[in-house]
Amino acid sequence: MPRVTFSVNGRSRTVDVPGDMPLLWILRDTLDLKGTKYGCGIAACGACTVHFNGAPARSCQLPASMLSGARITTIEGLSPDGTHALQQAWEELDVPQCGYCQAGQIMSAAGLLSRKPDPTDADIDSAMSGNICRCATYNRIRAAIHRAADIKAGASIPAGSGSSRSGEES
């Protein structure tokens, strides 16, 4: 098996995996980064979206053989402490239902905001069309992207109710 070295969330990682093993499975099962999700394996759902050299890409379509020297960012590395504007907006607007697609949604949205800091609805629909939400949270996703754009532009964060959290994060 080939050894491949690339960067994940700013840290250099070397893995020994089959050359055709997709980044998705390297992240999830080799590097134990479970935030990137498997939904279809054929780039049809967007659940596995990460940033490949700064741009959104479907990690199920990136084999190990293409990763040498690449710079990968996953949902775990989007911000140091979970406070990227999109993460804040997603929590504030209570976007997730089942939540399974949301890491991919956020990574696609982050790509959009880095290109267009103040996207229109049409920009959002176009950039997000490859990300399926089976619970159909699309309206809230769109609202949250607008909200994140506002947060990035300097809007304040209201201290709403519901700051309570589950035990899953400790």
């Binding site: 995996v17 089959p18 055709d20 479970k34 935030g35 054929i42 775990e76 089942c98 700051s163 035990g167």
Partner: protein, 445 residues
């Protein structure tokens, strides 16, 4: 007795049946159970734990499939316990029918079914804290009330925080649930307010939450090939060849024993490997021939042809008749448009493919499963594999969508069968294609 509540008499009966050692009853804790030892927490029942740091841990008993019960059920408890929501930490309960009774997700019934039982659970905890304060002050409990996290003596306005009452509260008996006094809706502080999903932060930061995210030390990964038609058994399979492929540890045929019918364990070939990628890569080299089965001749096109054929036969019966259709059709100027409509079988397609992680050792089976019906899943596994139900532990994980698909536990029993065969922890994960091909579809028409 209804199954929705467990009264004190029933609790005592259940306790005596199992030898009186049941500290964590469905709803009640025997007086003094935490007794003489130093009290670090107060657990009025199986759902609630208050600790000196002010944190209120509340267990959500039902599977979370995106419908929000992991937030909603604890809200009901927290409301009646009268605590500040920001100090609440929610934990997912394992399957435990003795503690939690019914645990399933389906039919949009969680709120009506749990509206009173969960509120009573919270109210029972509040009542014990109220009595603990009254005892401390040596005043009648009726003179006391609560505000979030605090008991107040009405006449003197003396106050004691819940955290100051844990030790005394732990020595007091919990009241019968059907006797507790519930809040008036006008006094609700949490119910009716906007409360965000308790897992939101974990979700947006990519924390492991779902069945597919489970890791058990030493775990292997499995894929399972079934016939393209439902229920056909394996005739032959090149398992020896597959077993020799890179990373593959096991490859074997599984036969159905008929338990659970088409939503039980169907025949197929399991491939277990060091990684899921190795397993599914090896599966591409798997060659299986399938035995004939009554479903072997069925296909989407044969169903469509038969439906068309039937639609051309005279009507068998009339379901509803309004007015005189024949006459209306003959009116001048009426234009008749004829068309036929059909729609296919439609899978539920939750975004998280079906999966269960299983570990069988020393006759005991431990499962981590994204399921809507863990109780019937355990029964199916027990009957199929002939393991006593009490030897099966099920950890309920968050599901990446349910939509009714996870009411059936076919993937759970497959994982259990594979685990029983190999004796080490194994995660069975279906491919998307497996999920589309082996659903319990919405009927075509």
């Amino acid at each position: 007795m209804t199954r929705s509540t467990l009264d004190r008499r029933e609790f005592l009966r259940v306790s005596s049946i199992i030898g009186g050692g049941l500290l964590f009853s469905a709803y009640l804790r025997p007086a003094g159970a935490l007794g003489a030892t130093a009290v670090s927490s107060f657990e009025p029942n199986a759902f609630i734990r208050l600790t000196p740091d002010g944190i209120v841990s509340i267990i959500s008993k039902n599977p979370e499939i995106g419908q929000g019960v992991k937030t909603m059920l604890p809200m009901l408890i927290a409301e009646e316990l009268d605590v500040d929501w920001k100090f609440v930490r929610v934990e997912q309960g394992d399957l435990d029918s003795k503690k939690f009774e019914n645990q399933w997700a389906g039919g949009s019934t969680a709120t009506p079914y749990n509206w009173l039982p969960m509120r009573r659970v919270g109210a029972a905890g509040r009542q014990v804290l109220l009595h603990a304060a009254a005892q401390t002050w040596k005043v009648p409990a009726e003179e006391c009330t609560t505000k979030p996290g605090v008991v107040v003596h009405n006449h003197t306005q003396r106050q004691l925080k819940y955290t100051e009452l844990l030790e005394v509260a732990a020595t007091l008996p919990a009241p019968p649930l059907d006797s507790v006094r519930l809040k008036e809706p006008s006094d609700f502080r949490i119910i009716g307010s906007k409360v965000r999903g308790v897992d939101n932060h974990a979700i947006v930061t990519g924390k492991p939450l779902f069945g597919i995210d489970i890791v058990v030390p030493g775990m292997l990964y499995a894929t399972y090939e079934k016939a393209r038609v439902f229920g056909a058994e394996v005739a032959t399979a090149n398992v020896d060849e597959v077993r020799a492929l890179p990373g593959v540890r096991h490859a074997f045929v599984i036969n159905s024993n008929g338990v659970g019918g088409l939503s039980g364990l169907l025949g197929g070939v399991a491939i277990v490997a060091d990684s899921w990628w190795h397993a599914v890569s090896a599966r591409k080299r798997l060659r299986v021939s399938w035995k004939q089965h009554p479903t072997s001749a069925e296909s989407t096109s044969s169903h469509a042809a038969r439906a068309l054929e039937l639609s051309r036969e005279p009507a068998q019966r009339s379901i509803r008749t309004d007015g005189n259709v024949e006459q209306a059709m003959r009116q001048p100027g009426v234009r008749i448009v004829e068309a036929s409509y059909s729609y296919p079988f439609i899978p539920h397609a939750p975004l998280e493919p079906q999966n269960t992680t299983a570990h069988f050792t020393d006759g005991k089976l431990e499962l981590w499963s994204a399921t809507q019906t863990p109780q019937s899943g355990r029964t199916l596994v027990a009957r199929t594999l002939e393991i006593p139900e009490e030897n099966i532990t099920i950890h309920i994980t968050r599901s990446g969508g349910g939509f009714g698909r996870r009411l059936s536990n076919d993937y759970m029993v497959e994982a259990a069968a594979i685990a029983k065969r190999i004796g080490v922890p194994v995660k069975l994960l279906w491919t998307r294609e497996d999920d589309m091909r082996h659903d319990f579809y919405r009927p075509a028409g």
